[in-house]
Amino acid sequence: MTKKEAFKYRDKAAELENLVAQLQDPDIQIDEATKLHTAGLKLIAELETYLKQAEVEVRRHVAHE
């Protein structure tokens, strides 16, 4: 895991957390909520892909020891 990737993960994760927090605002507008939800799903997909790759990498590391 390079430094750049680690940072990217951290940034995206923070963005997702922020987005979920915004969604919890009781005065949020529906279209705004829908927009946030869509953006959240996109972030989740990216993070999932990243973690899956990381998992493969980890397995490879552990197996090679």
Partner: protein
């Protein structure tokens, strides 16, 4: 007696000394120490005596093996001489305490002196490098101690540089050789990380060199940290007390200096497993987090929809409550003047007035016949 043989006093002294030099150039005398005194921190005077006789001795403090005490049995070697003013004495070369009691007493006195000087103080002890990269080994090359030390060292650890200083570890030359080896190791071009002085067990006599003042001081003065291991069972030598660390045997010295490779490899293996587990756990934790974020996200959107929906419902109900057509459907009608103004009270009506009626499904025109106020 030959009458011609009359000496002047100085001639006699010279003649006698010459004779002594030929007949007894070097004597060793053993006896009990008496009248021991040191002058100007440099000159030493004492007598050796037995039940019947007493002999005078003269020497320097440098010949002393350590602190001495009246009544000790010592063996003194030196040159007998007749001094031109002070009479007969033996010029001292070496003094060696002998006899178990004397040796012990001499050792105790020396130990007390060096202790008082702080040579054995715990705060002087330095930590040895673990493991060292380069060590100086001072011991007899032919000894079992040498072989044992290297065997254990190599079994436990590799890649250590060992500079061996071959010395005698007992007998007369031992002290000088050991002191010289300590100095040489300290002055070496590639200074070792640690200095190991070792020998196997032996009798008190065999181990004597390691309790001499010279060796003990050299160990204490070594800039390179020291490990002294003299195999024995009861007494600890003074050199060991002065060392930064002591070991019980040559093998034990090797054990103290180096970790066991096998143990280190096992620890590394465990660390590697932990590392793998840690990495796997990290990814698993992040995946769990992502799943919970996904749930939150969905819940957030759902809540937003539900909130909007329930607000809509409230608005709808309010709207319908205020909707005038609802009332018209129930049978009410709106009465307007012909100009369209709504009439809410009887005071605005009079008989014969034409009004417009609005009902749920249409309008009508009517004429007021009578007005009654209720």
């Amino acid at each position: 007696m030959d009458e011609r043989l009359v000496f002047g006093v100085s001639d006699f002294v010279a003649y006698l000394n010459q004779t002594l030099e030929i007949a007894y150039p070097y004597v060793t005398i053993e006896g009990e120490l008496a009248n021991f005194r040191v002058s100007k921190n440099r000159w030493v005077y004492f007598d050796l005596k037995d039940d019947d006789s007493s002999v005078k001795f003269f020497g320097t403090v440098y010949a002393l093996p350590g602190p001495l005490e009246e009544g000790m049995v010592v063996r003194v070697s030196g040159n007998p001489r007749l001094h031109n003013l002070y009479g007969f004495s033996v010029n001292v070369q070496t003094i060696t305490p002998v006899g178990e009691g004397t040796l012990r007493r001499a050792a105790d006195l020396l130990a007390a002196k060096l202790q008082a000087e702080g040579l054995f103080a715990p705060e002087r002890k330095r930590a040895l490098p673990y493991p060292p990269q380069r060590l100086a080994l001072i011991t007899a090359g032919e000894s079992a101690a040498y072989a044992d030390f290297l065997k254990i060292l190599n079994a436990r650890w590799r890649g250590l540089e060992v500079d061996h200083y071959d010395v005698q570890v007992q007998g007369e030359p031992a002290v000088g050789q050991i002191v010289a080896a300590i100095a040489a190791a300290n002055a070496a071009a590639q200074v070792p990380d640690v200095l190991v002085i070792t020998r196997g067990g032996g009798s008190a006599d065999d181990l004597a060199a390691f309790s001499t003042e010279q060796v003990t001081r050299a160990v204490a003065a070594s800039r390179v940290p020291t490990l002294v291991a003299i195999g024995h069972e009861v007494d600890v030598s003074l050199a060991e007390l002065a060392a930064d660390q002591r070991a019980s045997t040559p093998s034990n010295a090797a054990e103290l200096l180096t970790p066991d490779r096998g143990v280190v490899l096992r620890q590394l293996e465990e660390l590697r497993n932990d590392l793998g587990r840690g990495l796997t756990r990290l990814v698993a934790t992040r995946k769990d987090w992502l799943i919970s974020e996904r749930r939150e996200l969905d819940r957030g959107l759902q809540t937003a929809y539900q909130t909007a929906q329930s607000r809509l419902e409230i608005a709808r109900r309010l709207l319908s409550a205020y909707d005038p057509t609802t009332a018209l459907r129930r049978g009410y009608a709106i009465i307007r003047e012909t100009n369209g103004e709504i009439i809410k009270r009887t005071m605005h009506l009079q008989p014969g007035q034409v009004v417009e009626l609005t009902l749920s499904d249409g309008t009508a025109t009517a004429t007021i016949e009578t007005v009654r106020k209720s």
